[in-house]
């Protein structure tokens, strides 16, 4: 699905489900942000991380254990 197609549903539906109000300017900004960020988010979700065992409460000050 192209980001531009998804914007039509994703943003209004998401806002409505959460009860967040948005005017025309808000919607225009959100559509622009969506165009930029949604494709890489979808790409991120396709990355196979099944072999990655997540760190429990990772300590970012140190190398992973």
């Amino acid at each position: 699905m192209e980001a531009s197609e998804g914007t039509d549903d994703f943003i209004p539906a998401g806002l409505a489900s959460l009860g967040i109000e948005a005017d025309e300017v808000d919607l225009a900004v959100m559509a622009a942000v969506h165009q930029i960020f949604w494709p890489p988010i979808l790409e991120l979700l396709t990355l196979d991380t099944s072999e990655v065992v997540p760190e429990r409460n990772p300590d970012l000050s140190q190398a992973p254990r």
């Binding site: 994703f10 943003i11 998401g14 806002l15 959460l18 009860g19 967040i20 109000e21 948005a22 300017v25 808000d26 919607l27 225009a28 900004v29 959100m30 622009a32 942000v33 969506h34 930029i36 960020f37 890489p40 988010i41 790409e43 991120l44 979700l45 990355l47 991380t49 990655v52 065992v53 997540p54 760190e55 990772p58 300590d59 970012l60 000050s61 140190q62 190398a63 992973p64």
Partner: protein, 457 residues
């Protein structure tokens, strides 16, 4: 007193300790210089001379006694709540003794002003702020970098010799790069953060020093870390370079300057350059953006989103609302990518000591249109810049940006080095080695505004 104003941070500290400079005179001269130069920069958004004089009067005999410092509008002070460059924050704030404030106070420093910043910390350019855009001392029609725009412009314009910034997604390193400074993004958790409105929820944001060179960053960094960042030796440095879009999709001038700096560094340290692979850097960037965006929702309510301050920029309003729609599945995947990248880095840092690539793919863009031209095409500076910065925040490793040249338009170019967790000192050692290699040419370059003749200040 004009000469004292133009000393390095460590020279100011030493001159005061030796009795060669009166810190009260230095404070007044600094305030006068801010008054003189700041209108062209909008780097300092508030001064409080009486508070500064009180700090100086009560200053202990610490490593920065009497040295004027600017702090980013990201932490509260006992007399002022942070505004985060915005008309309103998602969470309430109030004046307080923040961690960076206490570190500076206990070191004897004098906080002379609050530095401008990109609105809500959400930009690499510094051209959007409730206080108005901050300007780059190298060209006041150019972006100073963000989000620590004011601290960087204040140091580059020689209003002060050192400033405290914050780095959640490159926000110390971008303005350091655009303004020709050295900026350290510490290992996560090593530098003072208390009092930041996201301190208890973030795994990405750290405080960090912005100064002219590495030795000054070492001094101010030691204060922020609360421990001595001892000088060491970068001999035999193993420099990892990655040949992928982060390193390659940059302007020819950036590529040339960074390649030359890496070779200078190799020769100076008697080290070696090792080509390494670091897959999934783009996924790491998206992961970092997702995590910091979800962290920034802390304390945000639907009611709050429906009553945003009218003076928030349209971009901030829309972005805040968009963040609330980010899918949890993507944030969970981002956490897995973080683990993946941390493990890969742990293995890579067995092979190399530092990983080098350009801090910024192109020099500072115009304030009015912050776009950059890259080999891959024209894009926003934000989209281009974040690719090189996010990894350090995502994984917690330290990173440093240092000046390595000037473009044909006399705008700074910068190299970034990243090291393993806790090896902040090595980055400073390495930056100093590079300064030796190039004869300190770039750290001593000054923008026209800082070279300008002044009348006693």
């Amino acid at each position: 007193m004009s000469a004292a104003l133009d000393l390095s941070l460590r020279e100011q500290a030493a001159a005061i300790a030796a009795g060669d400079v009166d810190p009260a005179e230095l404070l007044e001269a600094t305030l006068a210089r801010i008054e003189q130069r700041n209108p062209a920069l909008n780097a300092v958004v508030e001064t409080f001379p009486e508070r500064s004089r009180e700090m100086l009067a009560a200053a202990p005999d610490g490593p920065l006694r009497g040295v004027p410092i600017v702090i980013k509008d990201e932490w509260p002070l006992p007399w002022r709540a942070q505004r985060f460059g915005a008309a309103e924050l998602p969470v309430p704030t109030s004046p307080a003794e923040s961690g960076p404030y206490l570190a500076l106070r206990d070191a004897g420093a004098t906080i002379v002003g609050v530095g401008n910043m990109h609105e809500l910390g959400a930009g690499s350019t510094g051209n959007v702020s409730v206080y108005g855009p901050c300007r780059n001392p190298w060209d006041t029609e150019r972006c100073p970098g963000g989000s620590s725009s004011g601290p960087a412009a204040a140091v580059a314009g020689r209003l002060v010799a050192g400033a405290v910034g914050a780095d959640g997604l490159g926000s110390v390193r971008f303005p350091a790069a655009y303004c020709g400074l050295t900026g350290l993004k510490p290992t996560f958790g090593r530098s003072a953060m208390a009092g930041h409105h996201m301190a208890l929820v973030t795994n990405l944001i750290v405080s960090g020093p912005l100064c002219a060179d590495a030795a000054d960053c070492r001094l101010l960094g030691s204060v922020l870390f609360g421990e001595d960042l001892a000088a060491g030796d970068a001999a035999g440095l193993r420099i990892g370079v990655v040949r992928d879009p982060v390193s390659e999709d940059v302007t020819p001038e950036v590529r040339e300057a960074c390649d030359a700096a890496i070779e200078d560094l190799r020769a100076e340290t008697g080290g070696e350059v090792v080509e390494i692979a670091l897959p999934d850097l783009e996924a790491a960037t998206v992961a970092a953006i997702l995590i910091i965006n979800s962290e920034s929702l802390n304390g945000t309510t639907v009611e709050g989103l429906n009553r945003l301050h009218p003076d928030l920029s349209p971009l901030a309003r829309g972005t805040l609302k968009y963040r609330s729609l980010l899918p949890a599945s993507a944030v969970v995947q981002a956490q897995r990518v973080r683990t993946l990248m941390r493990r890969r880095l742990a293995e890579l840092f067995e092979e190399v000591d530092v990983i080098a690539w350009p801090t910024i793919p192109a020099p500072a863009p115009p304030l009015e249109v912050p776009m950059v031209e890259l080999p891959s095409g024209t894009t926003t500076a934000d989209q281009a810049n974040v690719r090189g910065a996010a990894l350090a925040n995502l994984t917690g490793i330290p990173s440093i940006s240092m000046p390595v040249g000037l473009s044909s338009e006399r705008l700074p170019l910068a190299l970034q080095l990243q090291a393993a967790w806790g090896r902040d000192e090595l980055l400073l050692d390495t930056a100093e080695a590079l300064e030796r290699a190039n004869g300190r040419r770039w750290v001593e370059s000054k923008p026209p505004l800082a070279e300008a003749e002044t009348t006693g200040v």
